[in-house]
């Protein structure tokens, strides 16, 4: 019987596991420690509605503060954990307080990758990142109509901010060092659709282009020199080059680390009293060990953790899904496309479009642009381990619901 469960990290995974434990009938103590100030909030909104037109407090919060009290979840904000002692089963906070645990859940998330130190922008006041509410509030101040924002990195965050900034009247240039935007996650066909979305709005996208050097005046970056020799005059720089998992506590404590805090199918770490969930954890999938950086992963890992913390045997077998809002468009993805051998495009007319990733005959993943049907059916088929007939899928005149399905080998 667990008397005290301590959760380090109060973003989506941490909050989710706390409430799930209560849902499952756990009546012992829950301490939920967040290192940010205030009530836990929805991270996805920060690069979308929050920046675009603001959000009132109630819409931003994951749940009202009173709900934590009502469910006897001892939430503490501004609580930084400095050390985990696996032998004593104790954690130590920045203020010197120690807390014992019967079970520990690490939901420490991820932190932004900074630009290389050699660029020398560490002290610049017009270089921004976007991970936390504080980052978003700071970035807001840079969104001045008519100014020039340079976005470094064309992943989801970079592209979402580019869309918001453009809609708010800024001039925007996105620079991506790889040959293609969304290179980490998407095929060239999806990249082309998204590229067009931005270009028709007047955003400049420069692929195969990296930041070589910057010029600073006082503490502001005023110019950037790109690897192709172009020089851009800029007013602000947003860095969206990805994240690193926050594994420091786990590493110092001696837990196994590999691309994140290693967990098994039950979301348990290499220590029998410690679990890890969300962006900080690496899971073993058929395609290898990796992190899944999404709301889906945070919430679904939390559900498995809550179950196994209380003695259950649920395992984490994700069908990962994700969404990204850019301008009036919604990109939804489901599955993982690693190792795909070919893709099938479907144009459903107007602005609906989808691309289906296959490894030989087996469906791996779907990218759906303004096409929720494709997303939902793709999710259903992947969950059922079935694959659509490729010939029929390729024929846009055949409705998705009429496409023959074959069980995966």
């Amino acid at each position: 019987m667990l008397n005290q469960i301590v959760i380090v990290g109060a973003s989506h995974a941490g909050v989710s596991v706390a409430f799930k434990l209560r849902d499952l009938g756990y009546t012992g103590r829950i301490v939920l420690l967040g290192d940010e100030s205030g009530v836990p909030y929805h991270r996805p909104h920060l690069s979308k509605q929050y920046l675009l037109h603001g959000l009132d407090k109630d819409a931003l919060m994951q749940r009202p503060a009173t709900l934590f009290e009502q469910h006897a979840i001892g939430y503490r904000d501004d609580a930084r954990v400095e050390q985990v002692d696996l032998q004593k089963r104790q954690i130590c906070l920045h203020d010197g307080c120690t807390l014992n645990y019967d079970a520990l859940v690490l939901a420490t998330g991820a932190k932004l990758k900074p630009l290389p130190a050699v660029l020398g922008v560490q002290k610049a006041t017009n270089v921004y990142g976007l991970r936390t509410l504080a980052d978003a509030q700071r970035l807001q101040t840079a969104l001045c109509p008519g100014s020039h924002l340079c976005v470094v990195g064309a992943g989801y965050i970079g592209l979402e901010v580019a869309a918001v900034a453009r809609q708010r009247g800024l001039n925007v240039t996105v620079i991506e060092h790889s040959a293609q935007i969304l290179s980490r996650v998407a095929c060239s066909q999806t990249a082309q659709r998204i590229r067009e979305l931005h270009q028709t709005q007047g955003v400049r996208i420069l692929e195969g282009s990296g930041l070589q050097q910057v010029r600073m005046v006082d503490d502001q970056v005023t110019q950037v020199l790109l690897s192709d020799g172009q020089i851009l005059q800029i007013d602000a720089l947003l860095v969206g080059i990805g994240v690193e998992p926050r594994v420091e506590l786990a590493q110092q404590a001696g837990l196994q680390i590999d691309r994140g805090i290693c967990v098994d199918a039950f979301t348990r770490t290499s220590d029998p009293h410690v679990w890890a969930i969300g962006d900080c954890a690496s899971v073993l999938l058929k395609t290898g060990r990796q992190r899944l950086e999404s709301i889906q992963n945070a919430v679904d890992m939390a559900a498995v953790a809550a179950d196994t913390l209380l003695g259950g045997t649920q395992t984490y077998n994700p069908i990962p899904w994700f969404w990204s809002d850019q301008y009036e468009s919604k990109l939804q993805t489901v599955g993982l496309n690693h190792g795909y051998t070919h893709v099938v495009e479907r144009d459903s007319g107007s602005d609906s479009w989808s691309v289906w990733y296959f490894k030989d005959q087996q469906l791996l993943s779907v990218d759906a642009l303004n096409d929720p049907r494709a997303f939902m059916l793709g999710k259903r088929w992947l969950t059922a381990a079935k694959s659509p007939d490729i010939q029929q899928l390729s024929d846009s005149s055949i409705l998705l619901t009429a496409v023959a399905l074959l069980p995966n080998q």
């Binding site: 996805p44 819409a59 749940r63 929720p372 939902m376």
Partner: protein, 106 residues
């Protein structure tokens, strides 16, 4: 302040005060109503805030737009009275709205 009644999966009735302008999903989440997951926090991207609107009320609501309609088409256990509650914005004349929640949102 309009009052909304949620019927939780086990039949428990929860009468809660709603604020104009928030979504019915937000009302449910703020009041810890059981049976709503709302994974995407109102982005019309996950279909886990699905609810059945009472038949007396269904026609009175602003109809679903395309994205919501398509998400609903393949959500779990939907009926002709299904809506994604994150797309229902509370107005003063929704006082007395009744929404029943499904057995499962997964």
């Amino acid at each position: 302040m309009p009052t909304i009644t949620f019927i939780e999966p086990d039949g428990t009735q929860r009468e809660v005060a709603a604020r104009e302008g928030q979504s019915v999903m937000q009302v449910a989440v703020e009041n810890a109503v059981r049976g709503i997951e709302a994974d995407c926090a109102g982005s019309c991207s996950c279909a886990t805030c699905h609810g059945y609107v009472d038949s007396d009320w269904f026609e009175k609501l602003l109809p679903a737009e395309r994205m919501e309609q398509e998400m609903l088409e393949f959500a779990i256990d939907t009926t002709s009275l299904s809506r994604l509650t994150c797309q229902l914005r509370v107005t003063a004349d929704m006082d007395g709205l009744v929404v029943r929640l499904p057995q499962s949102q997964a």
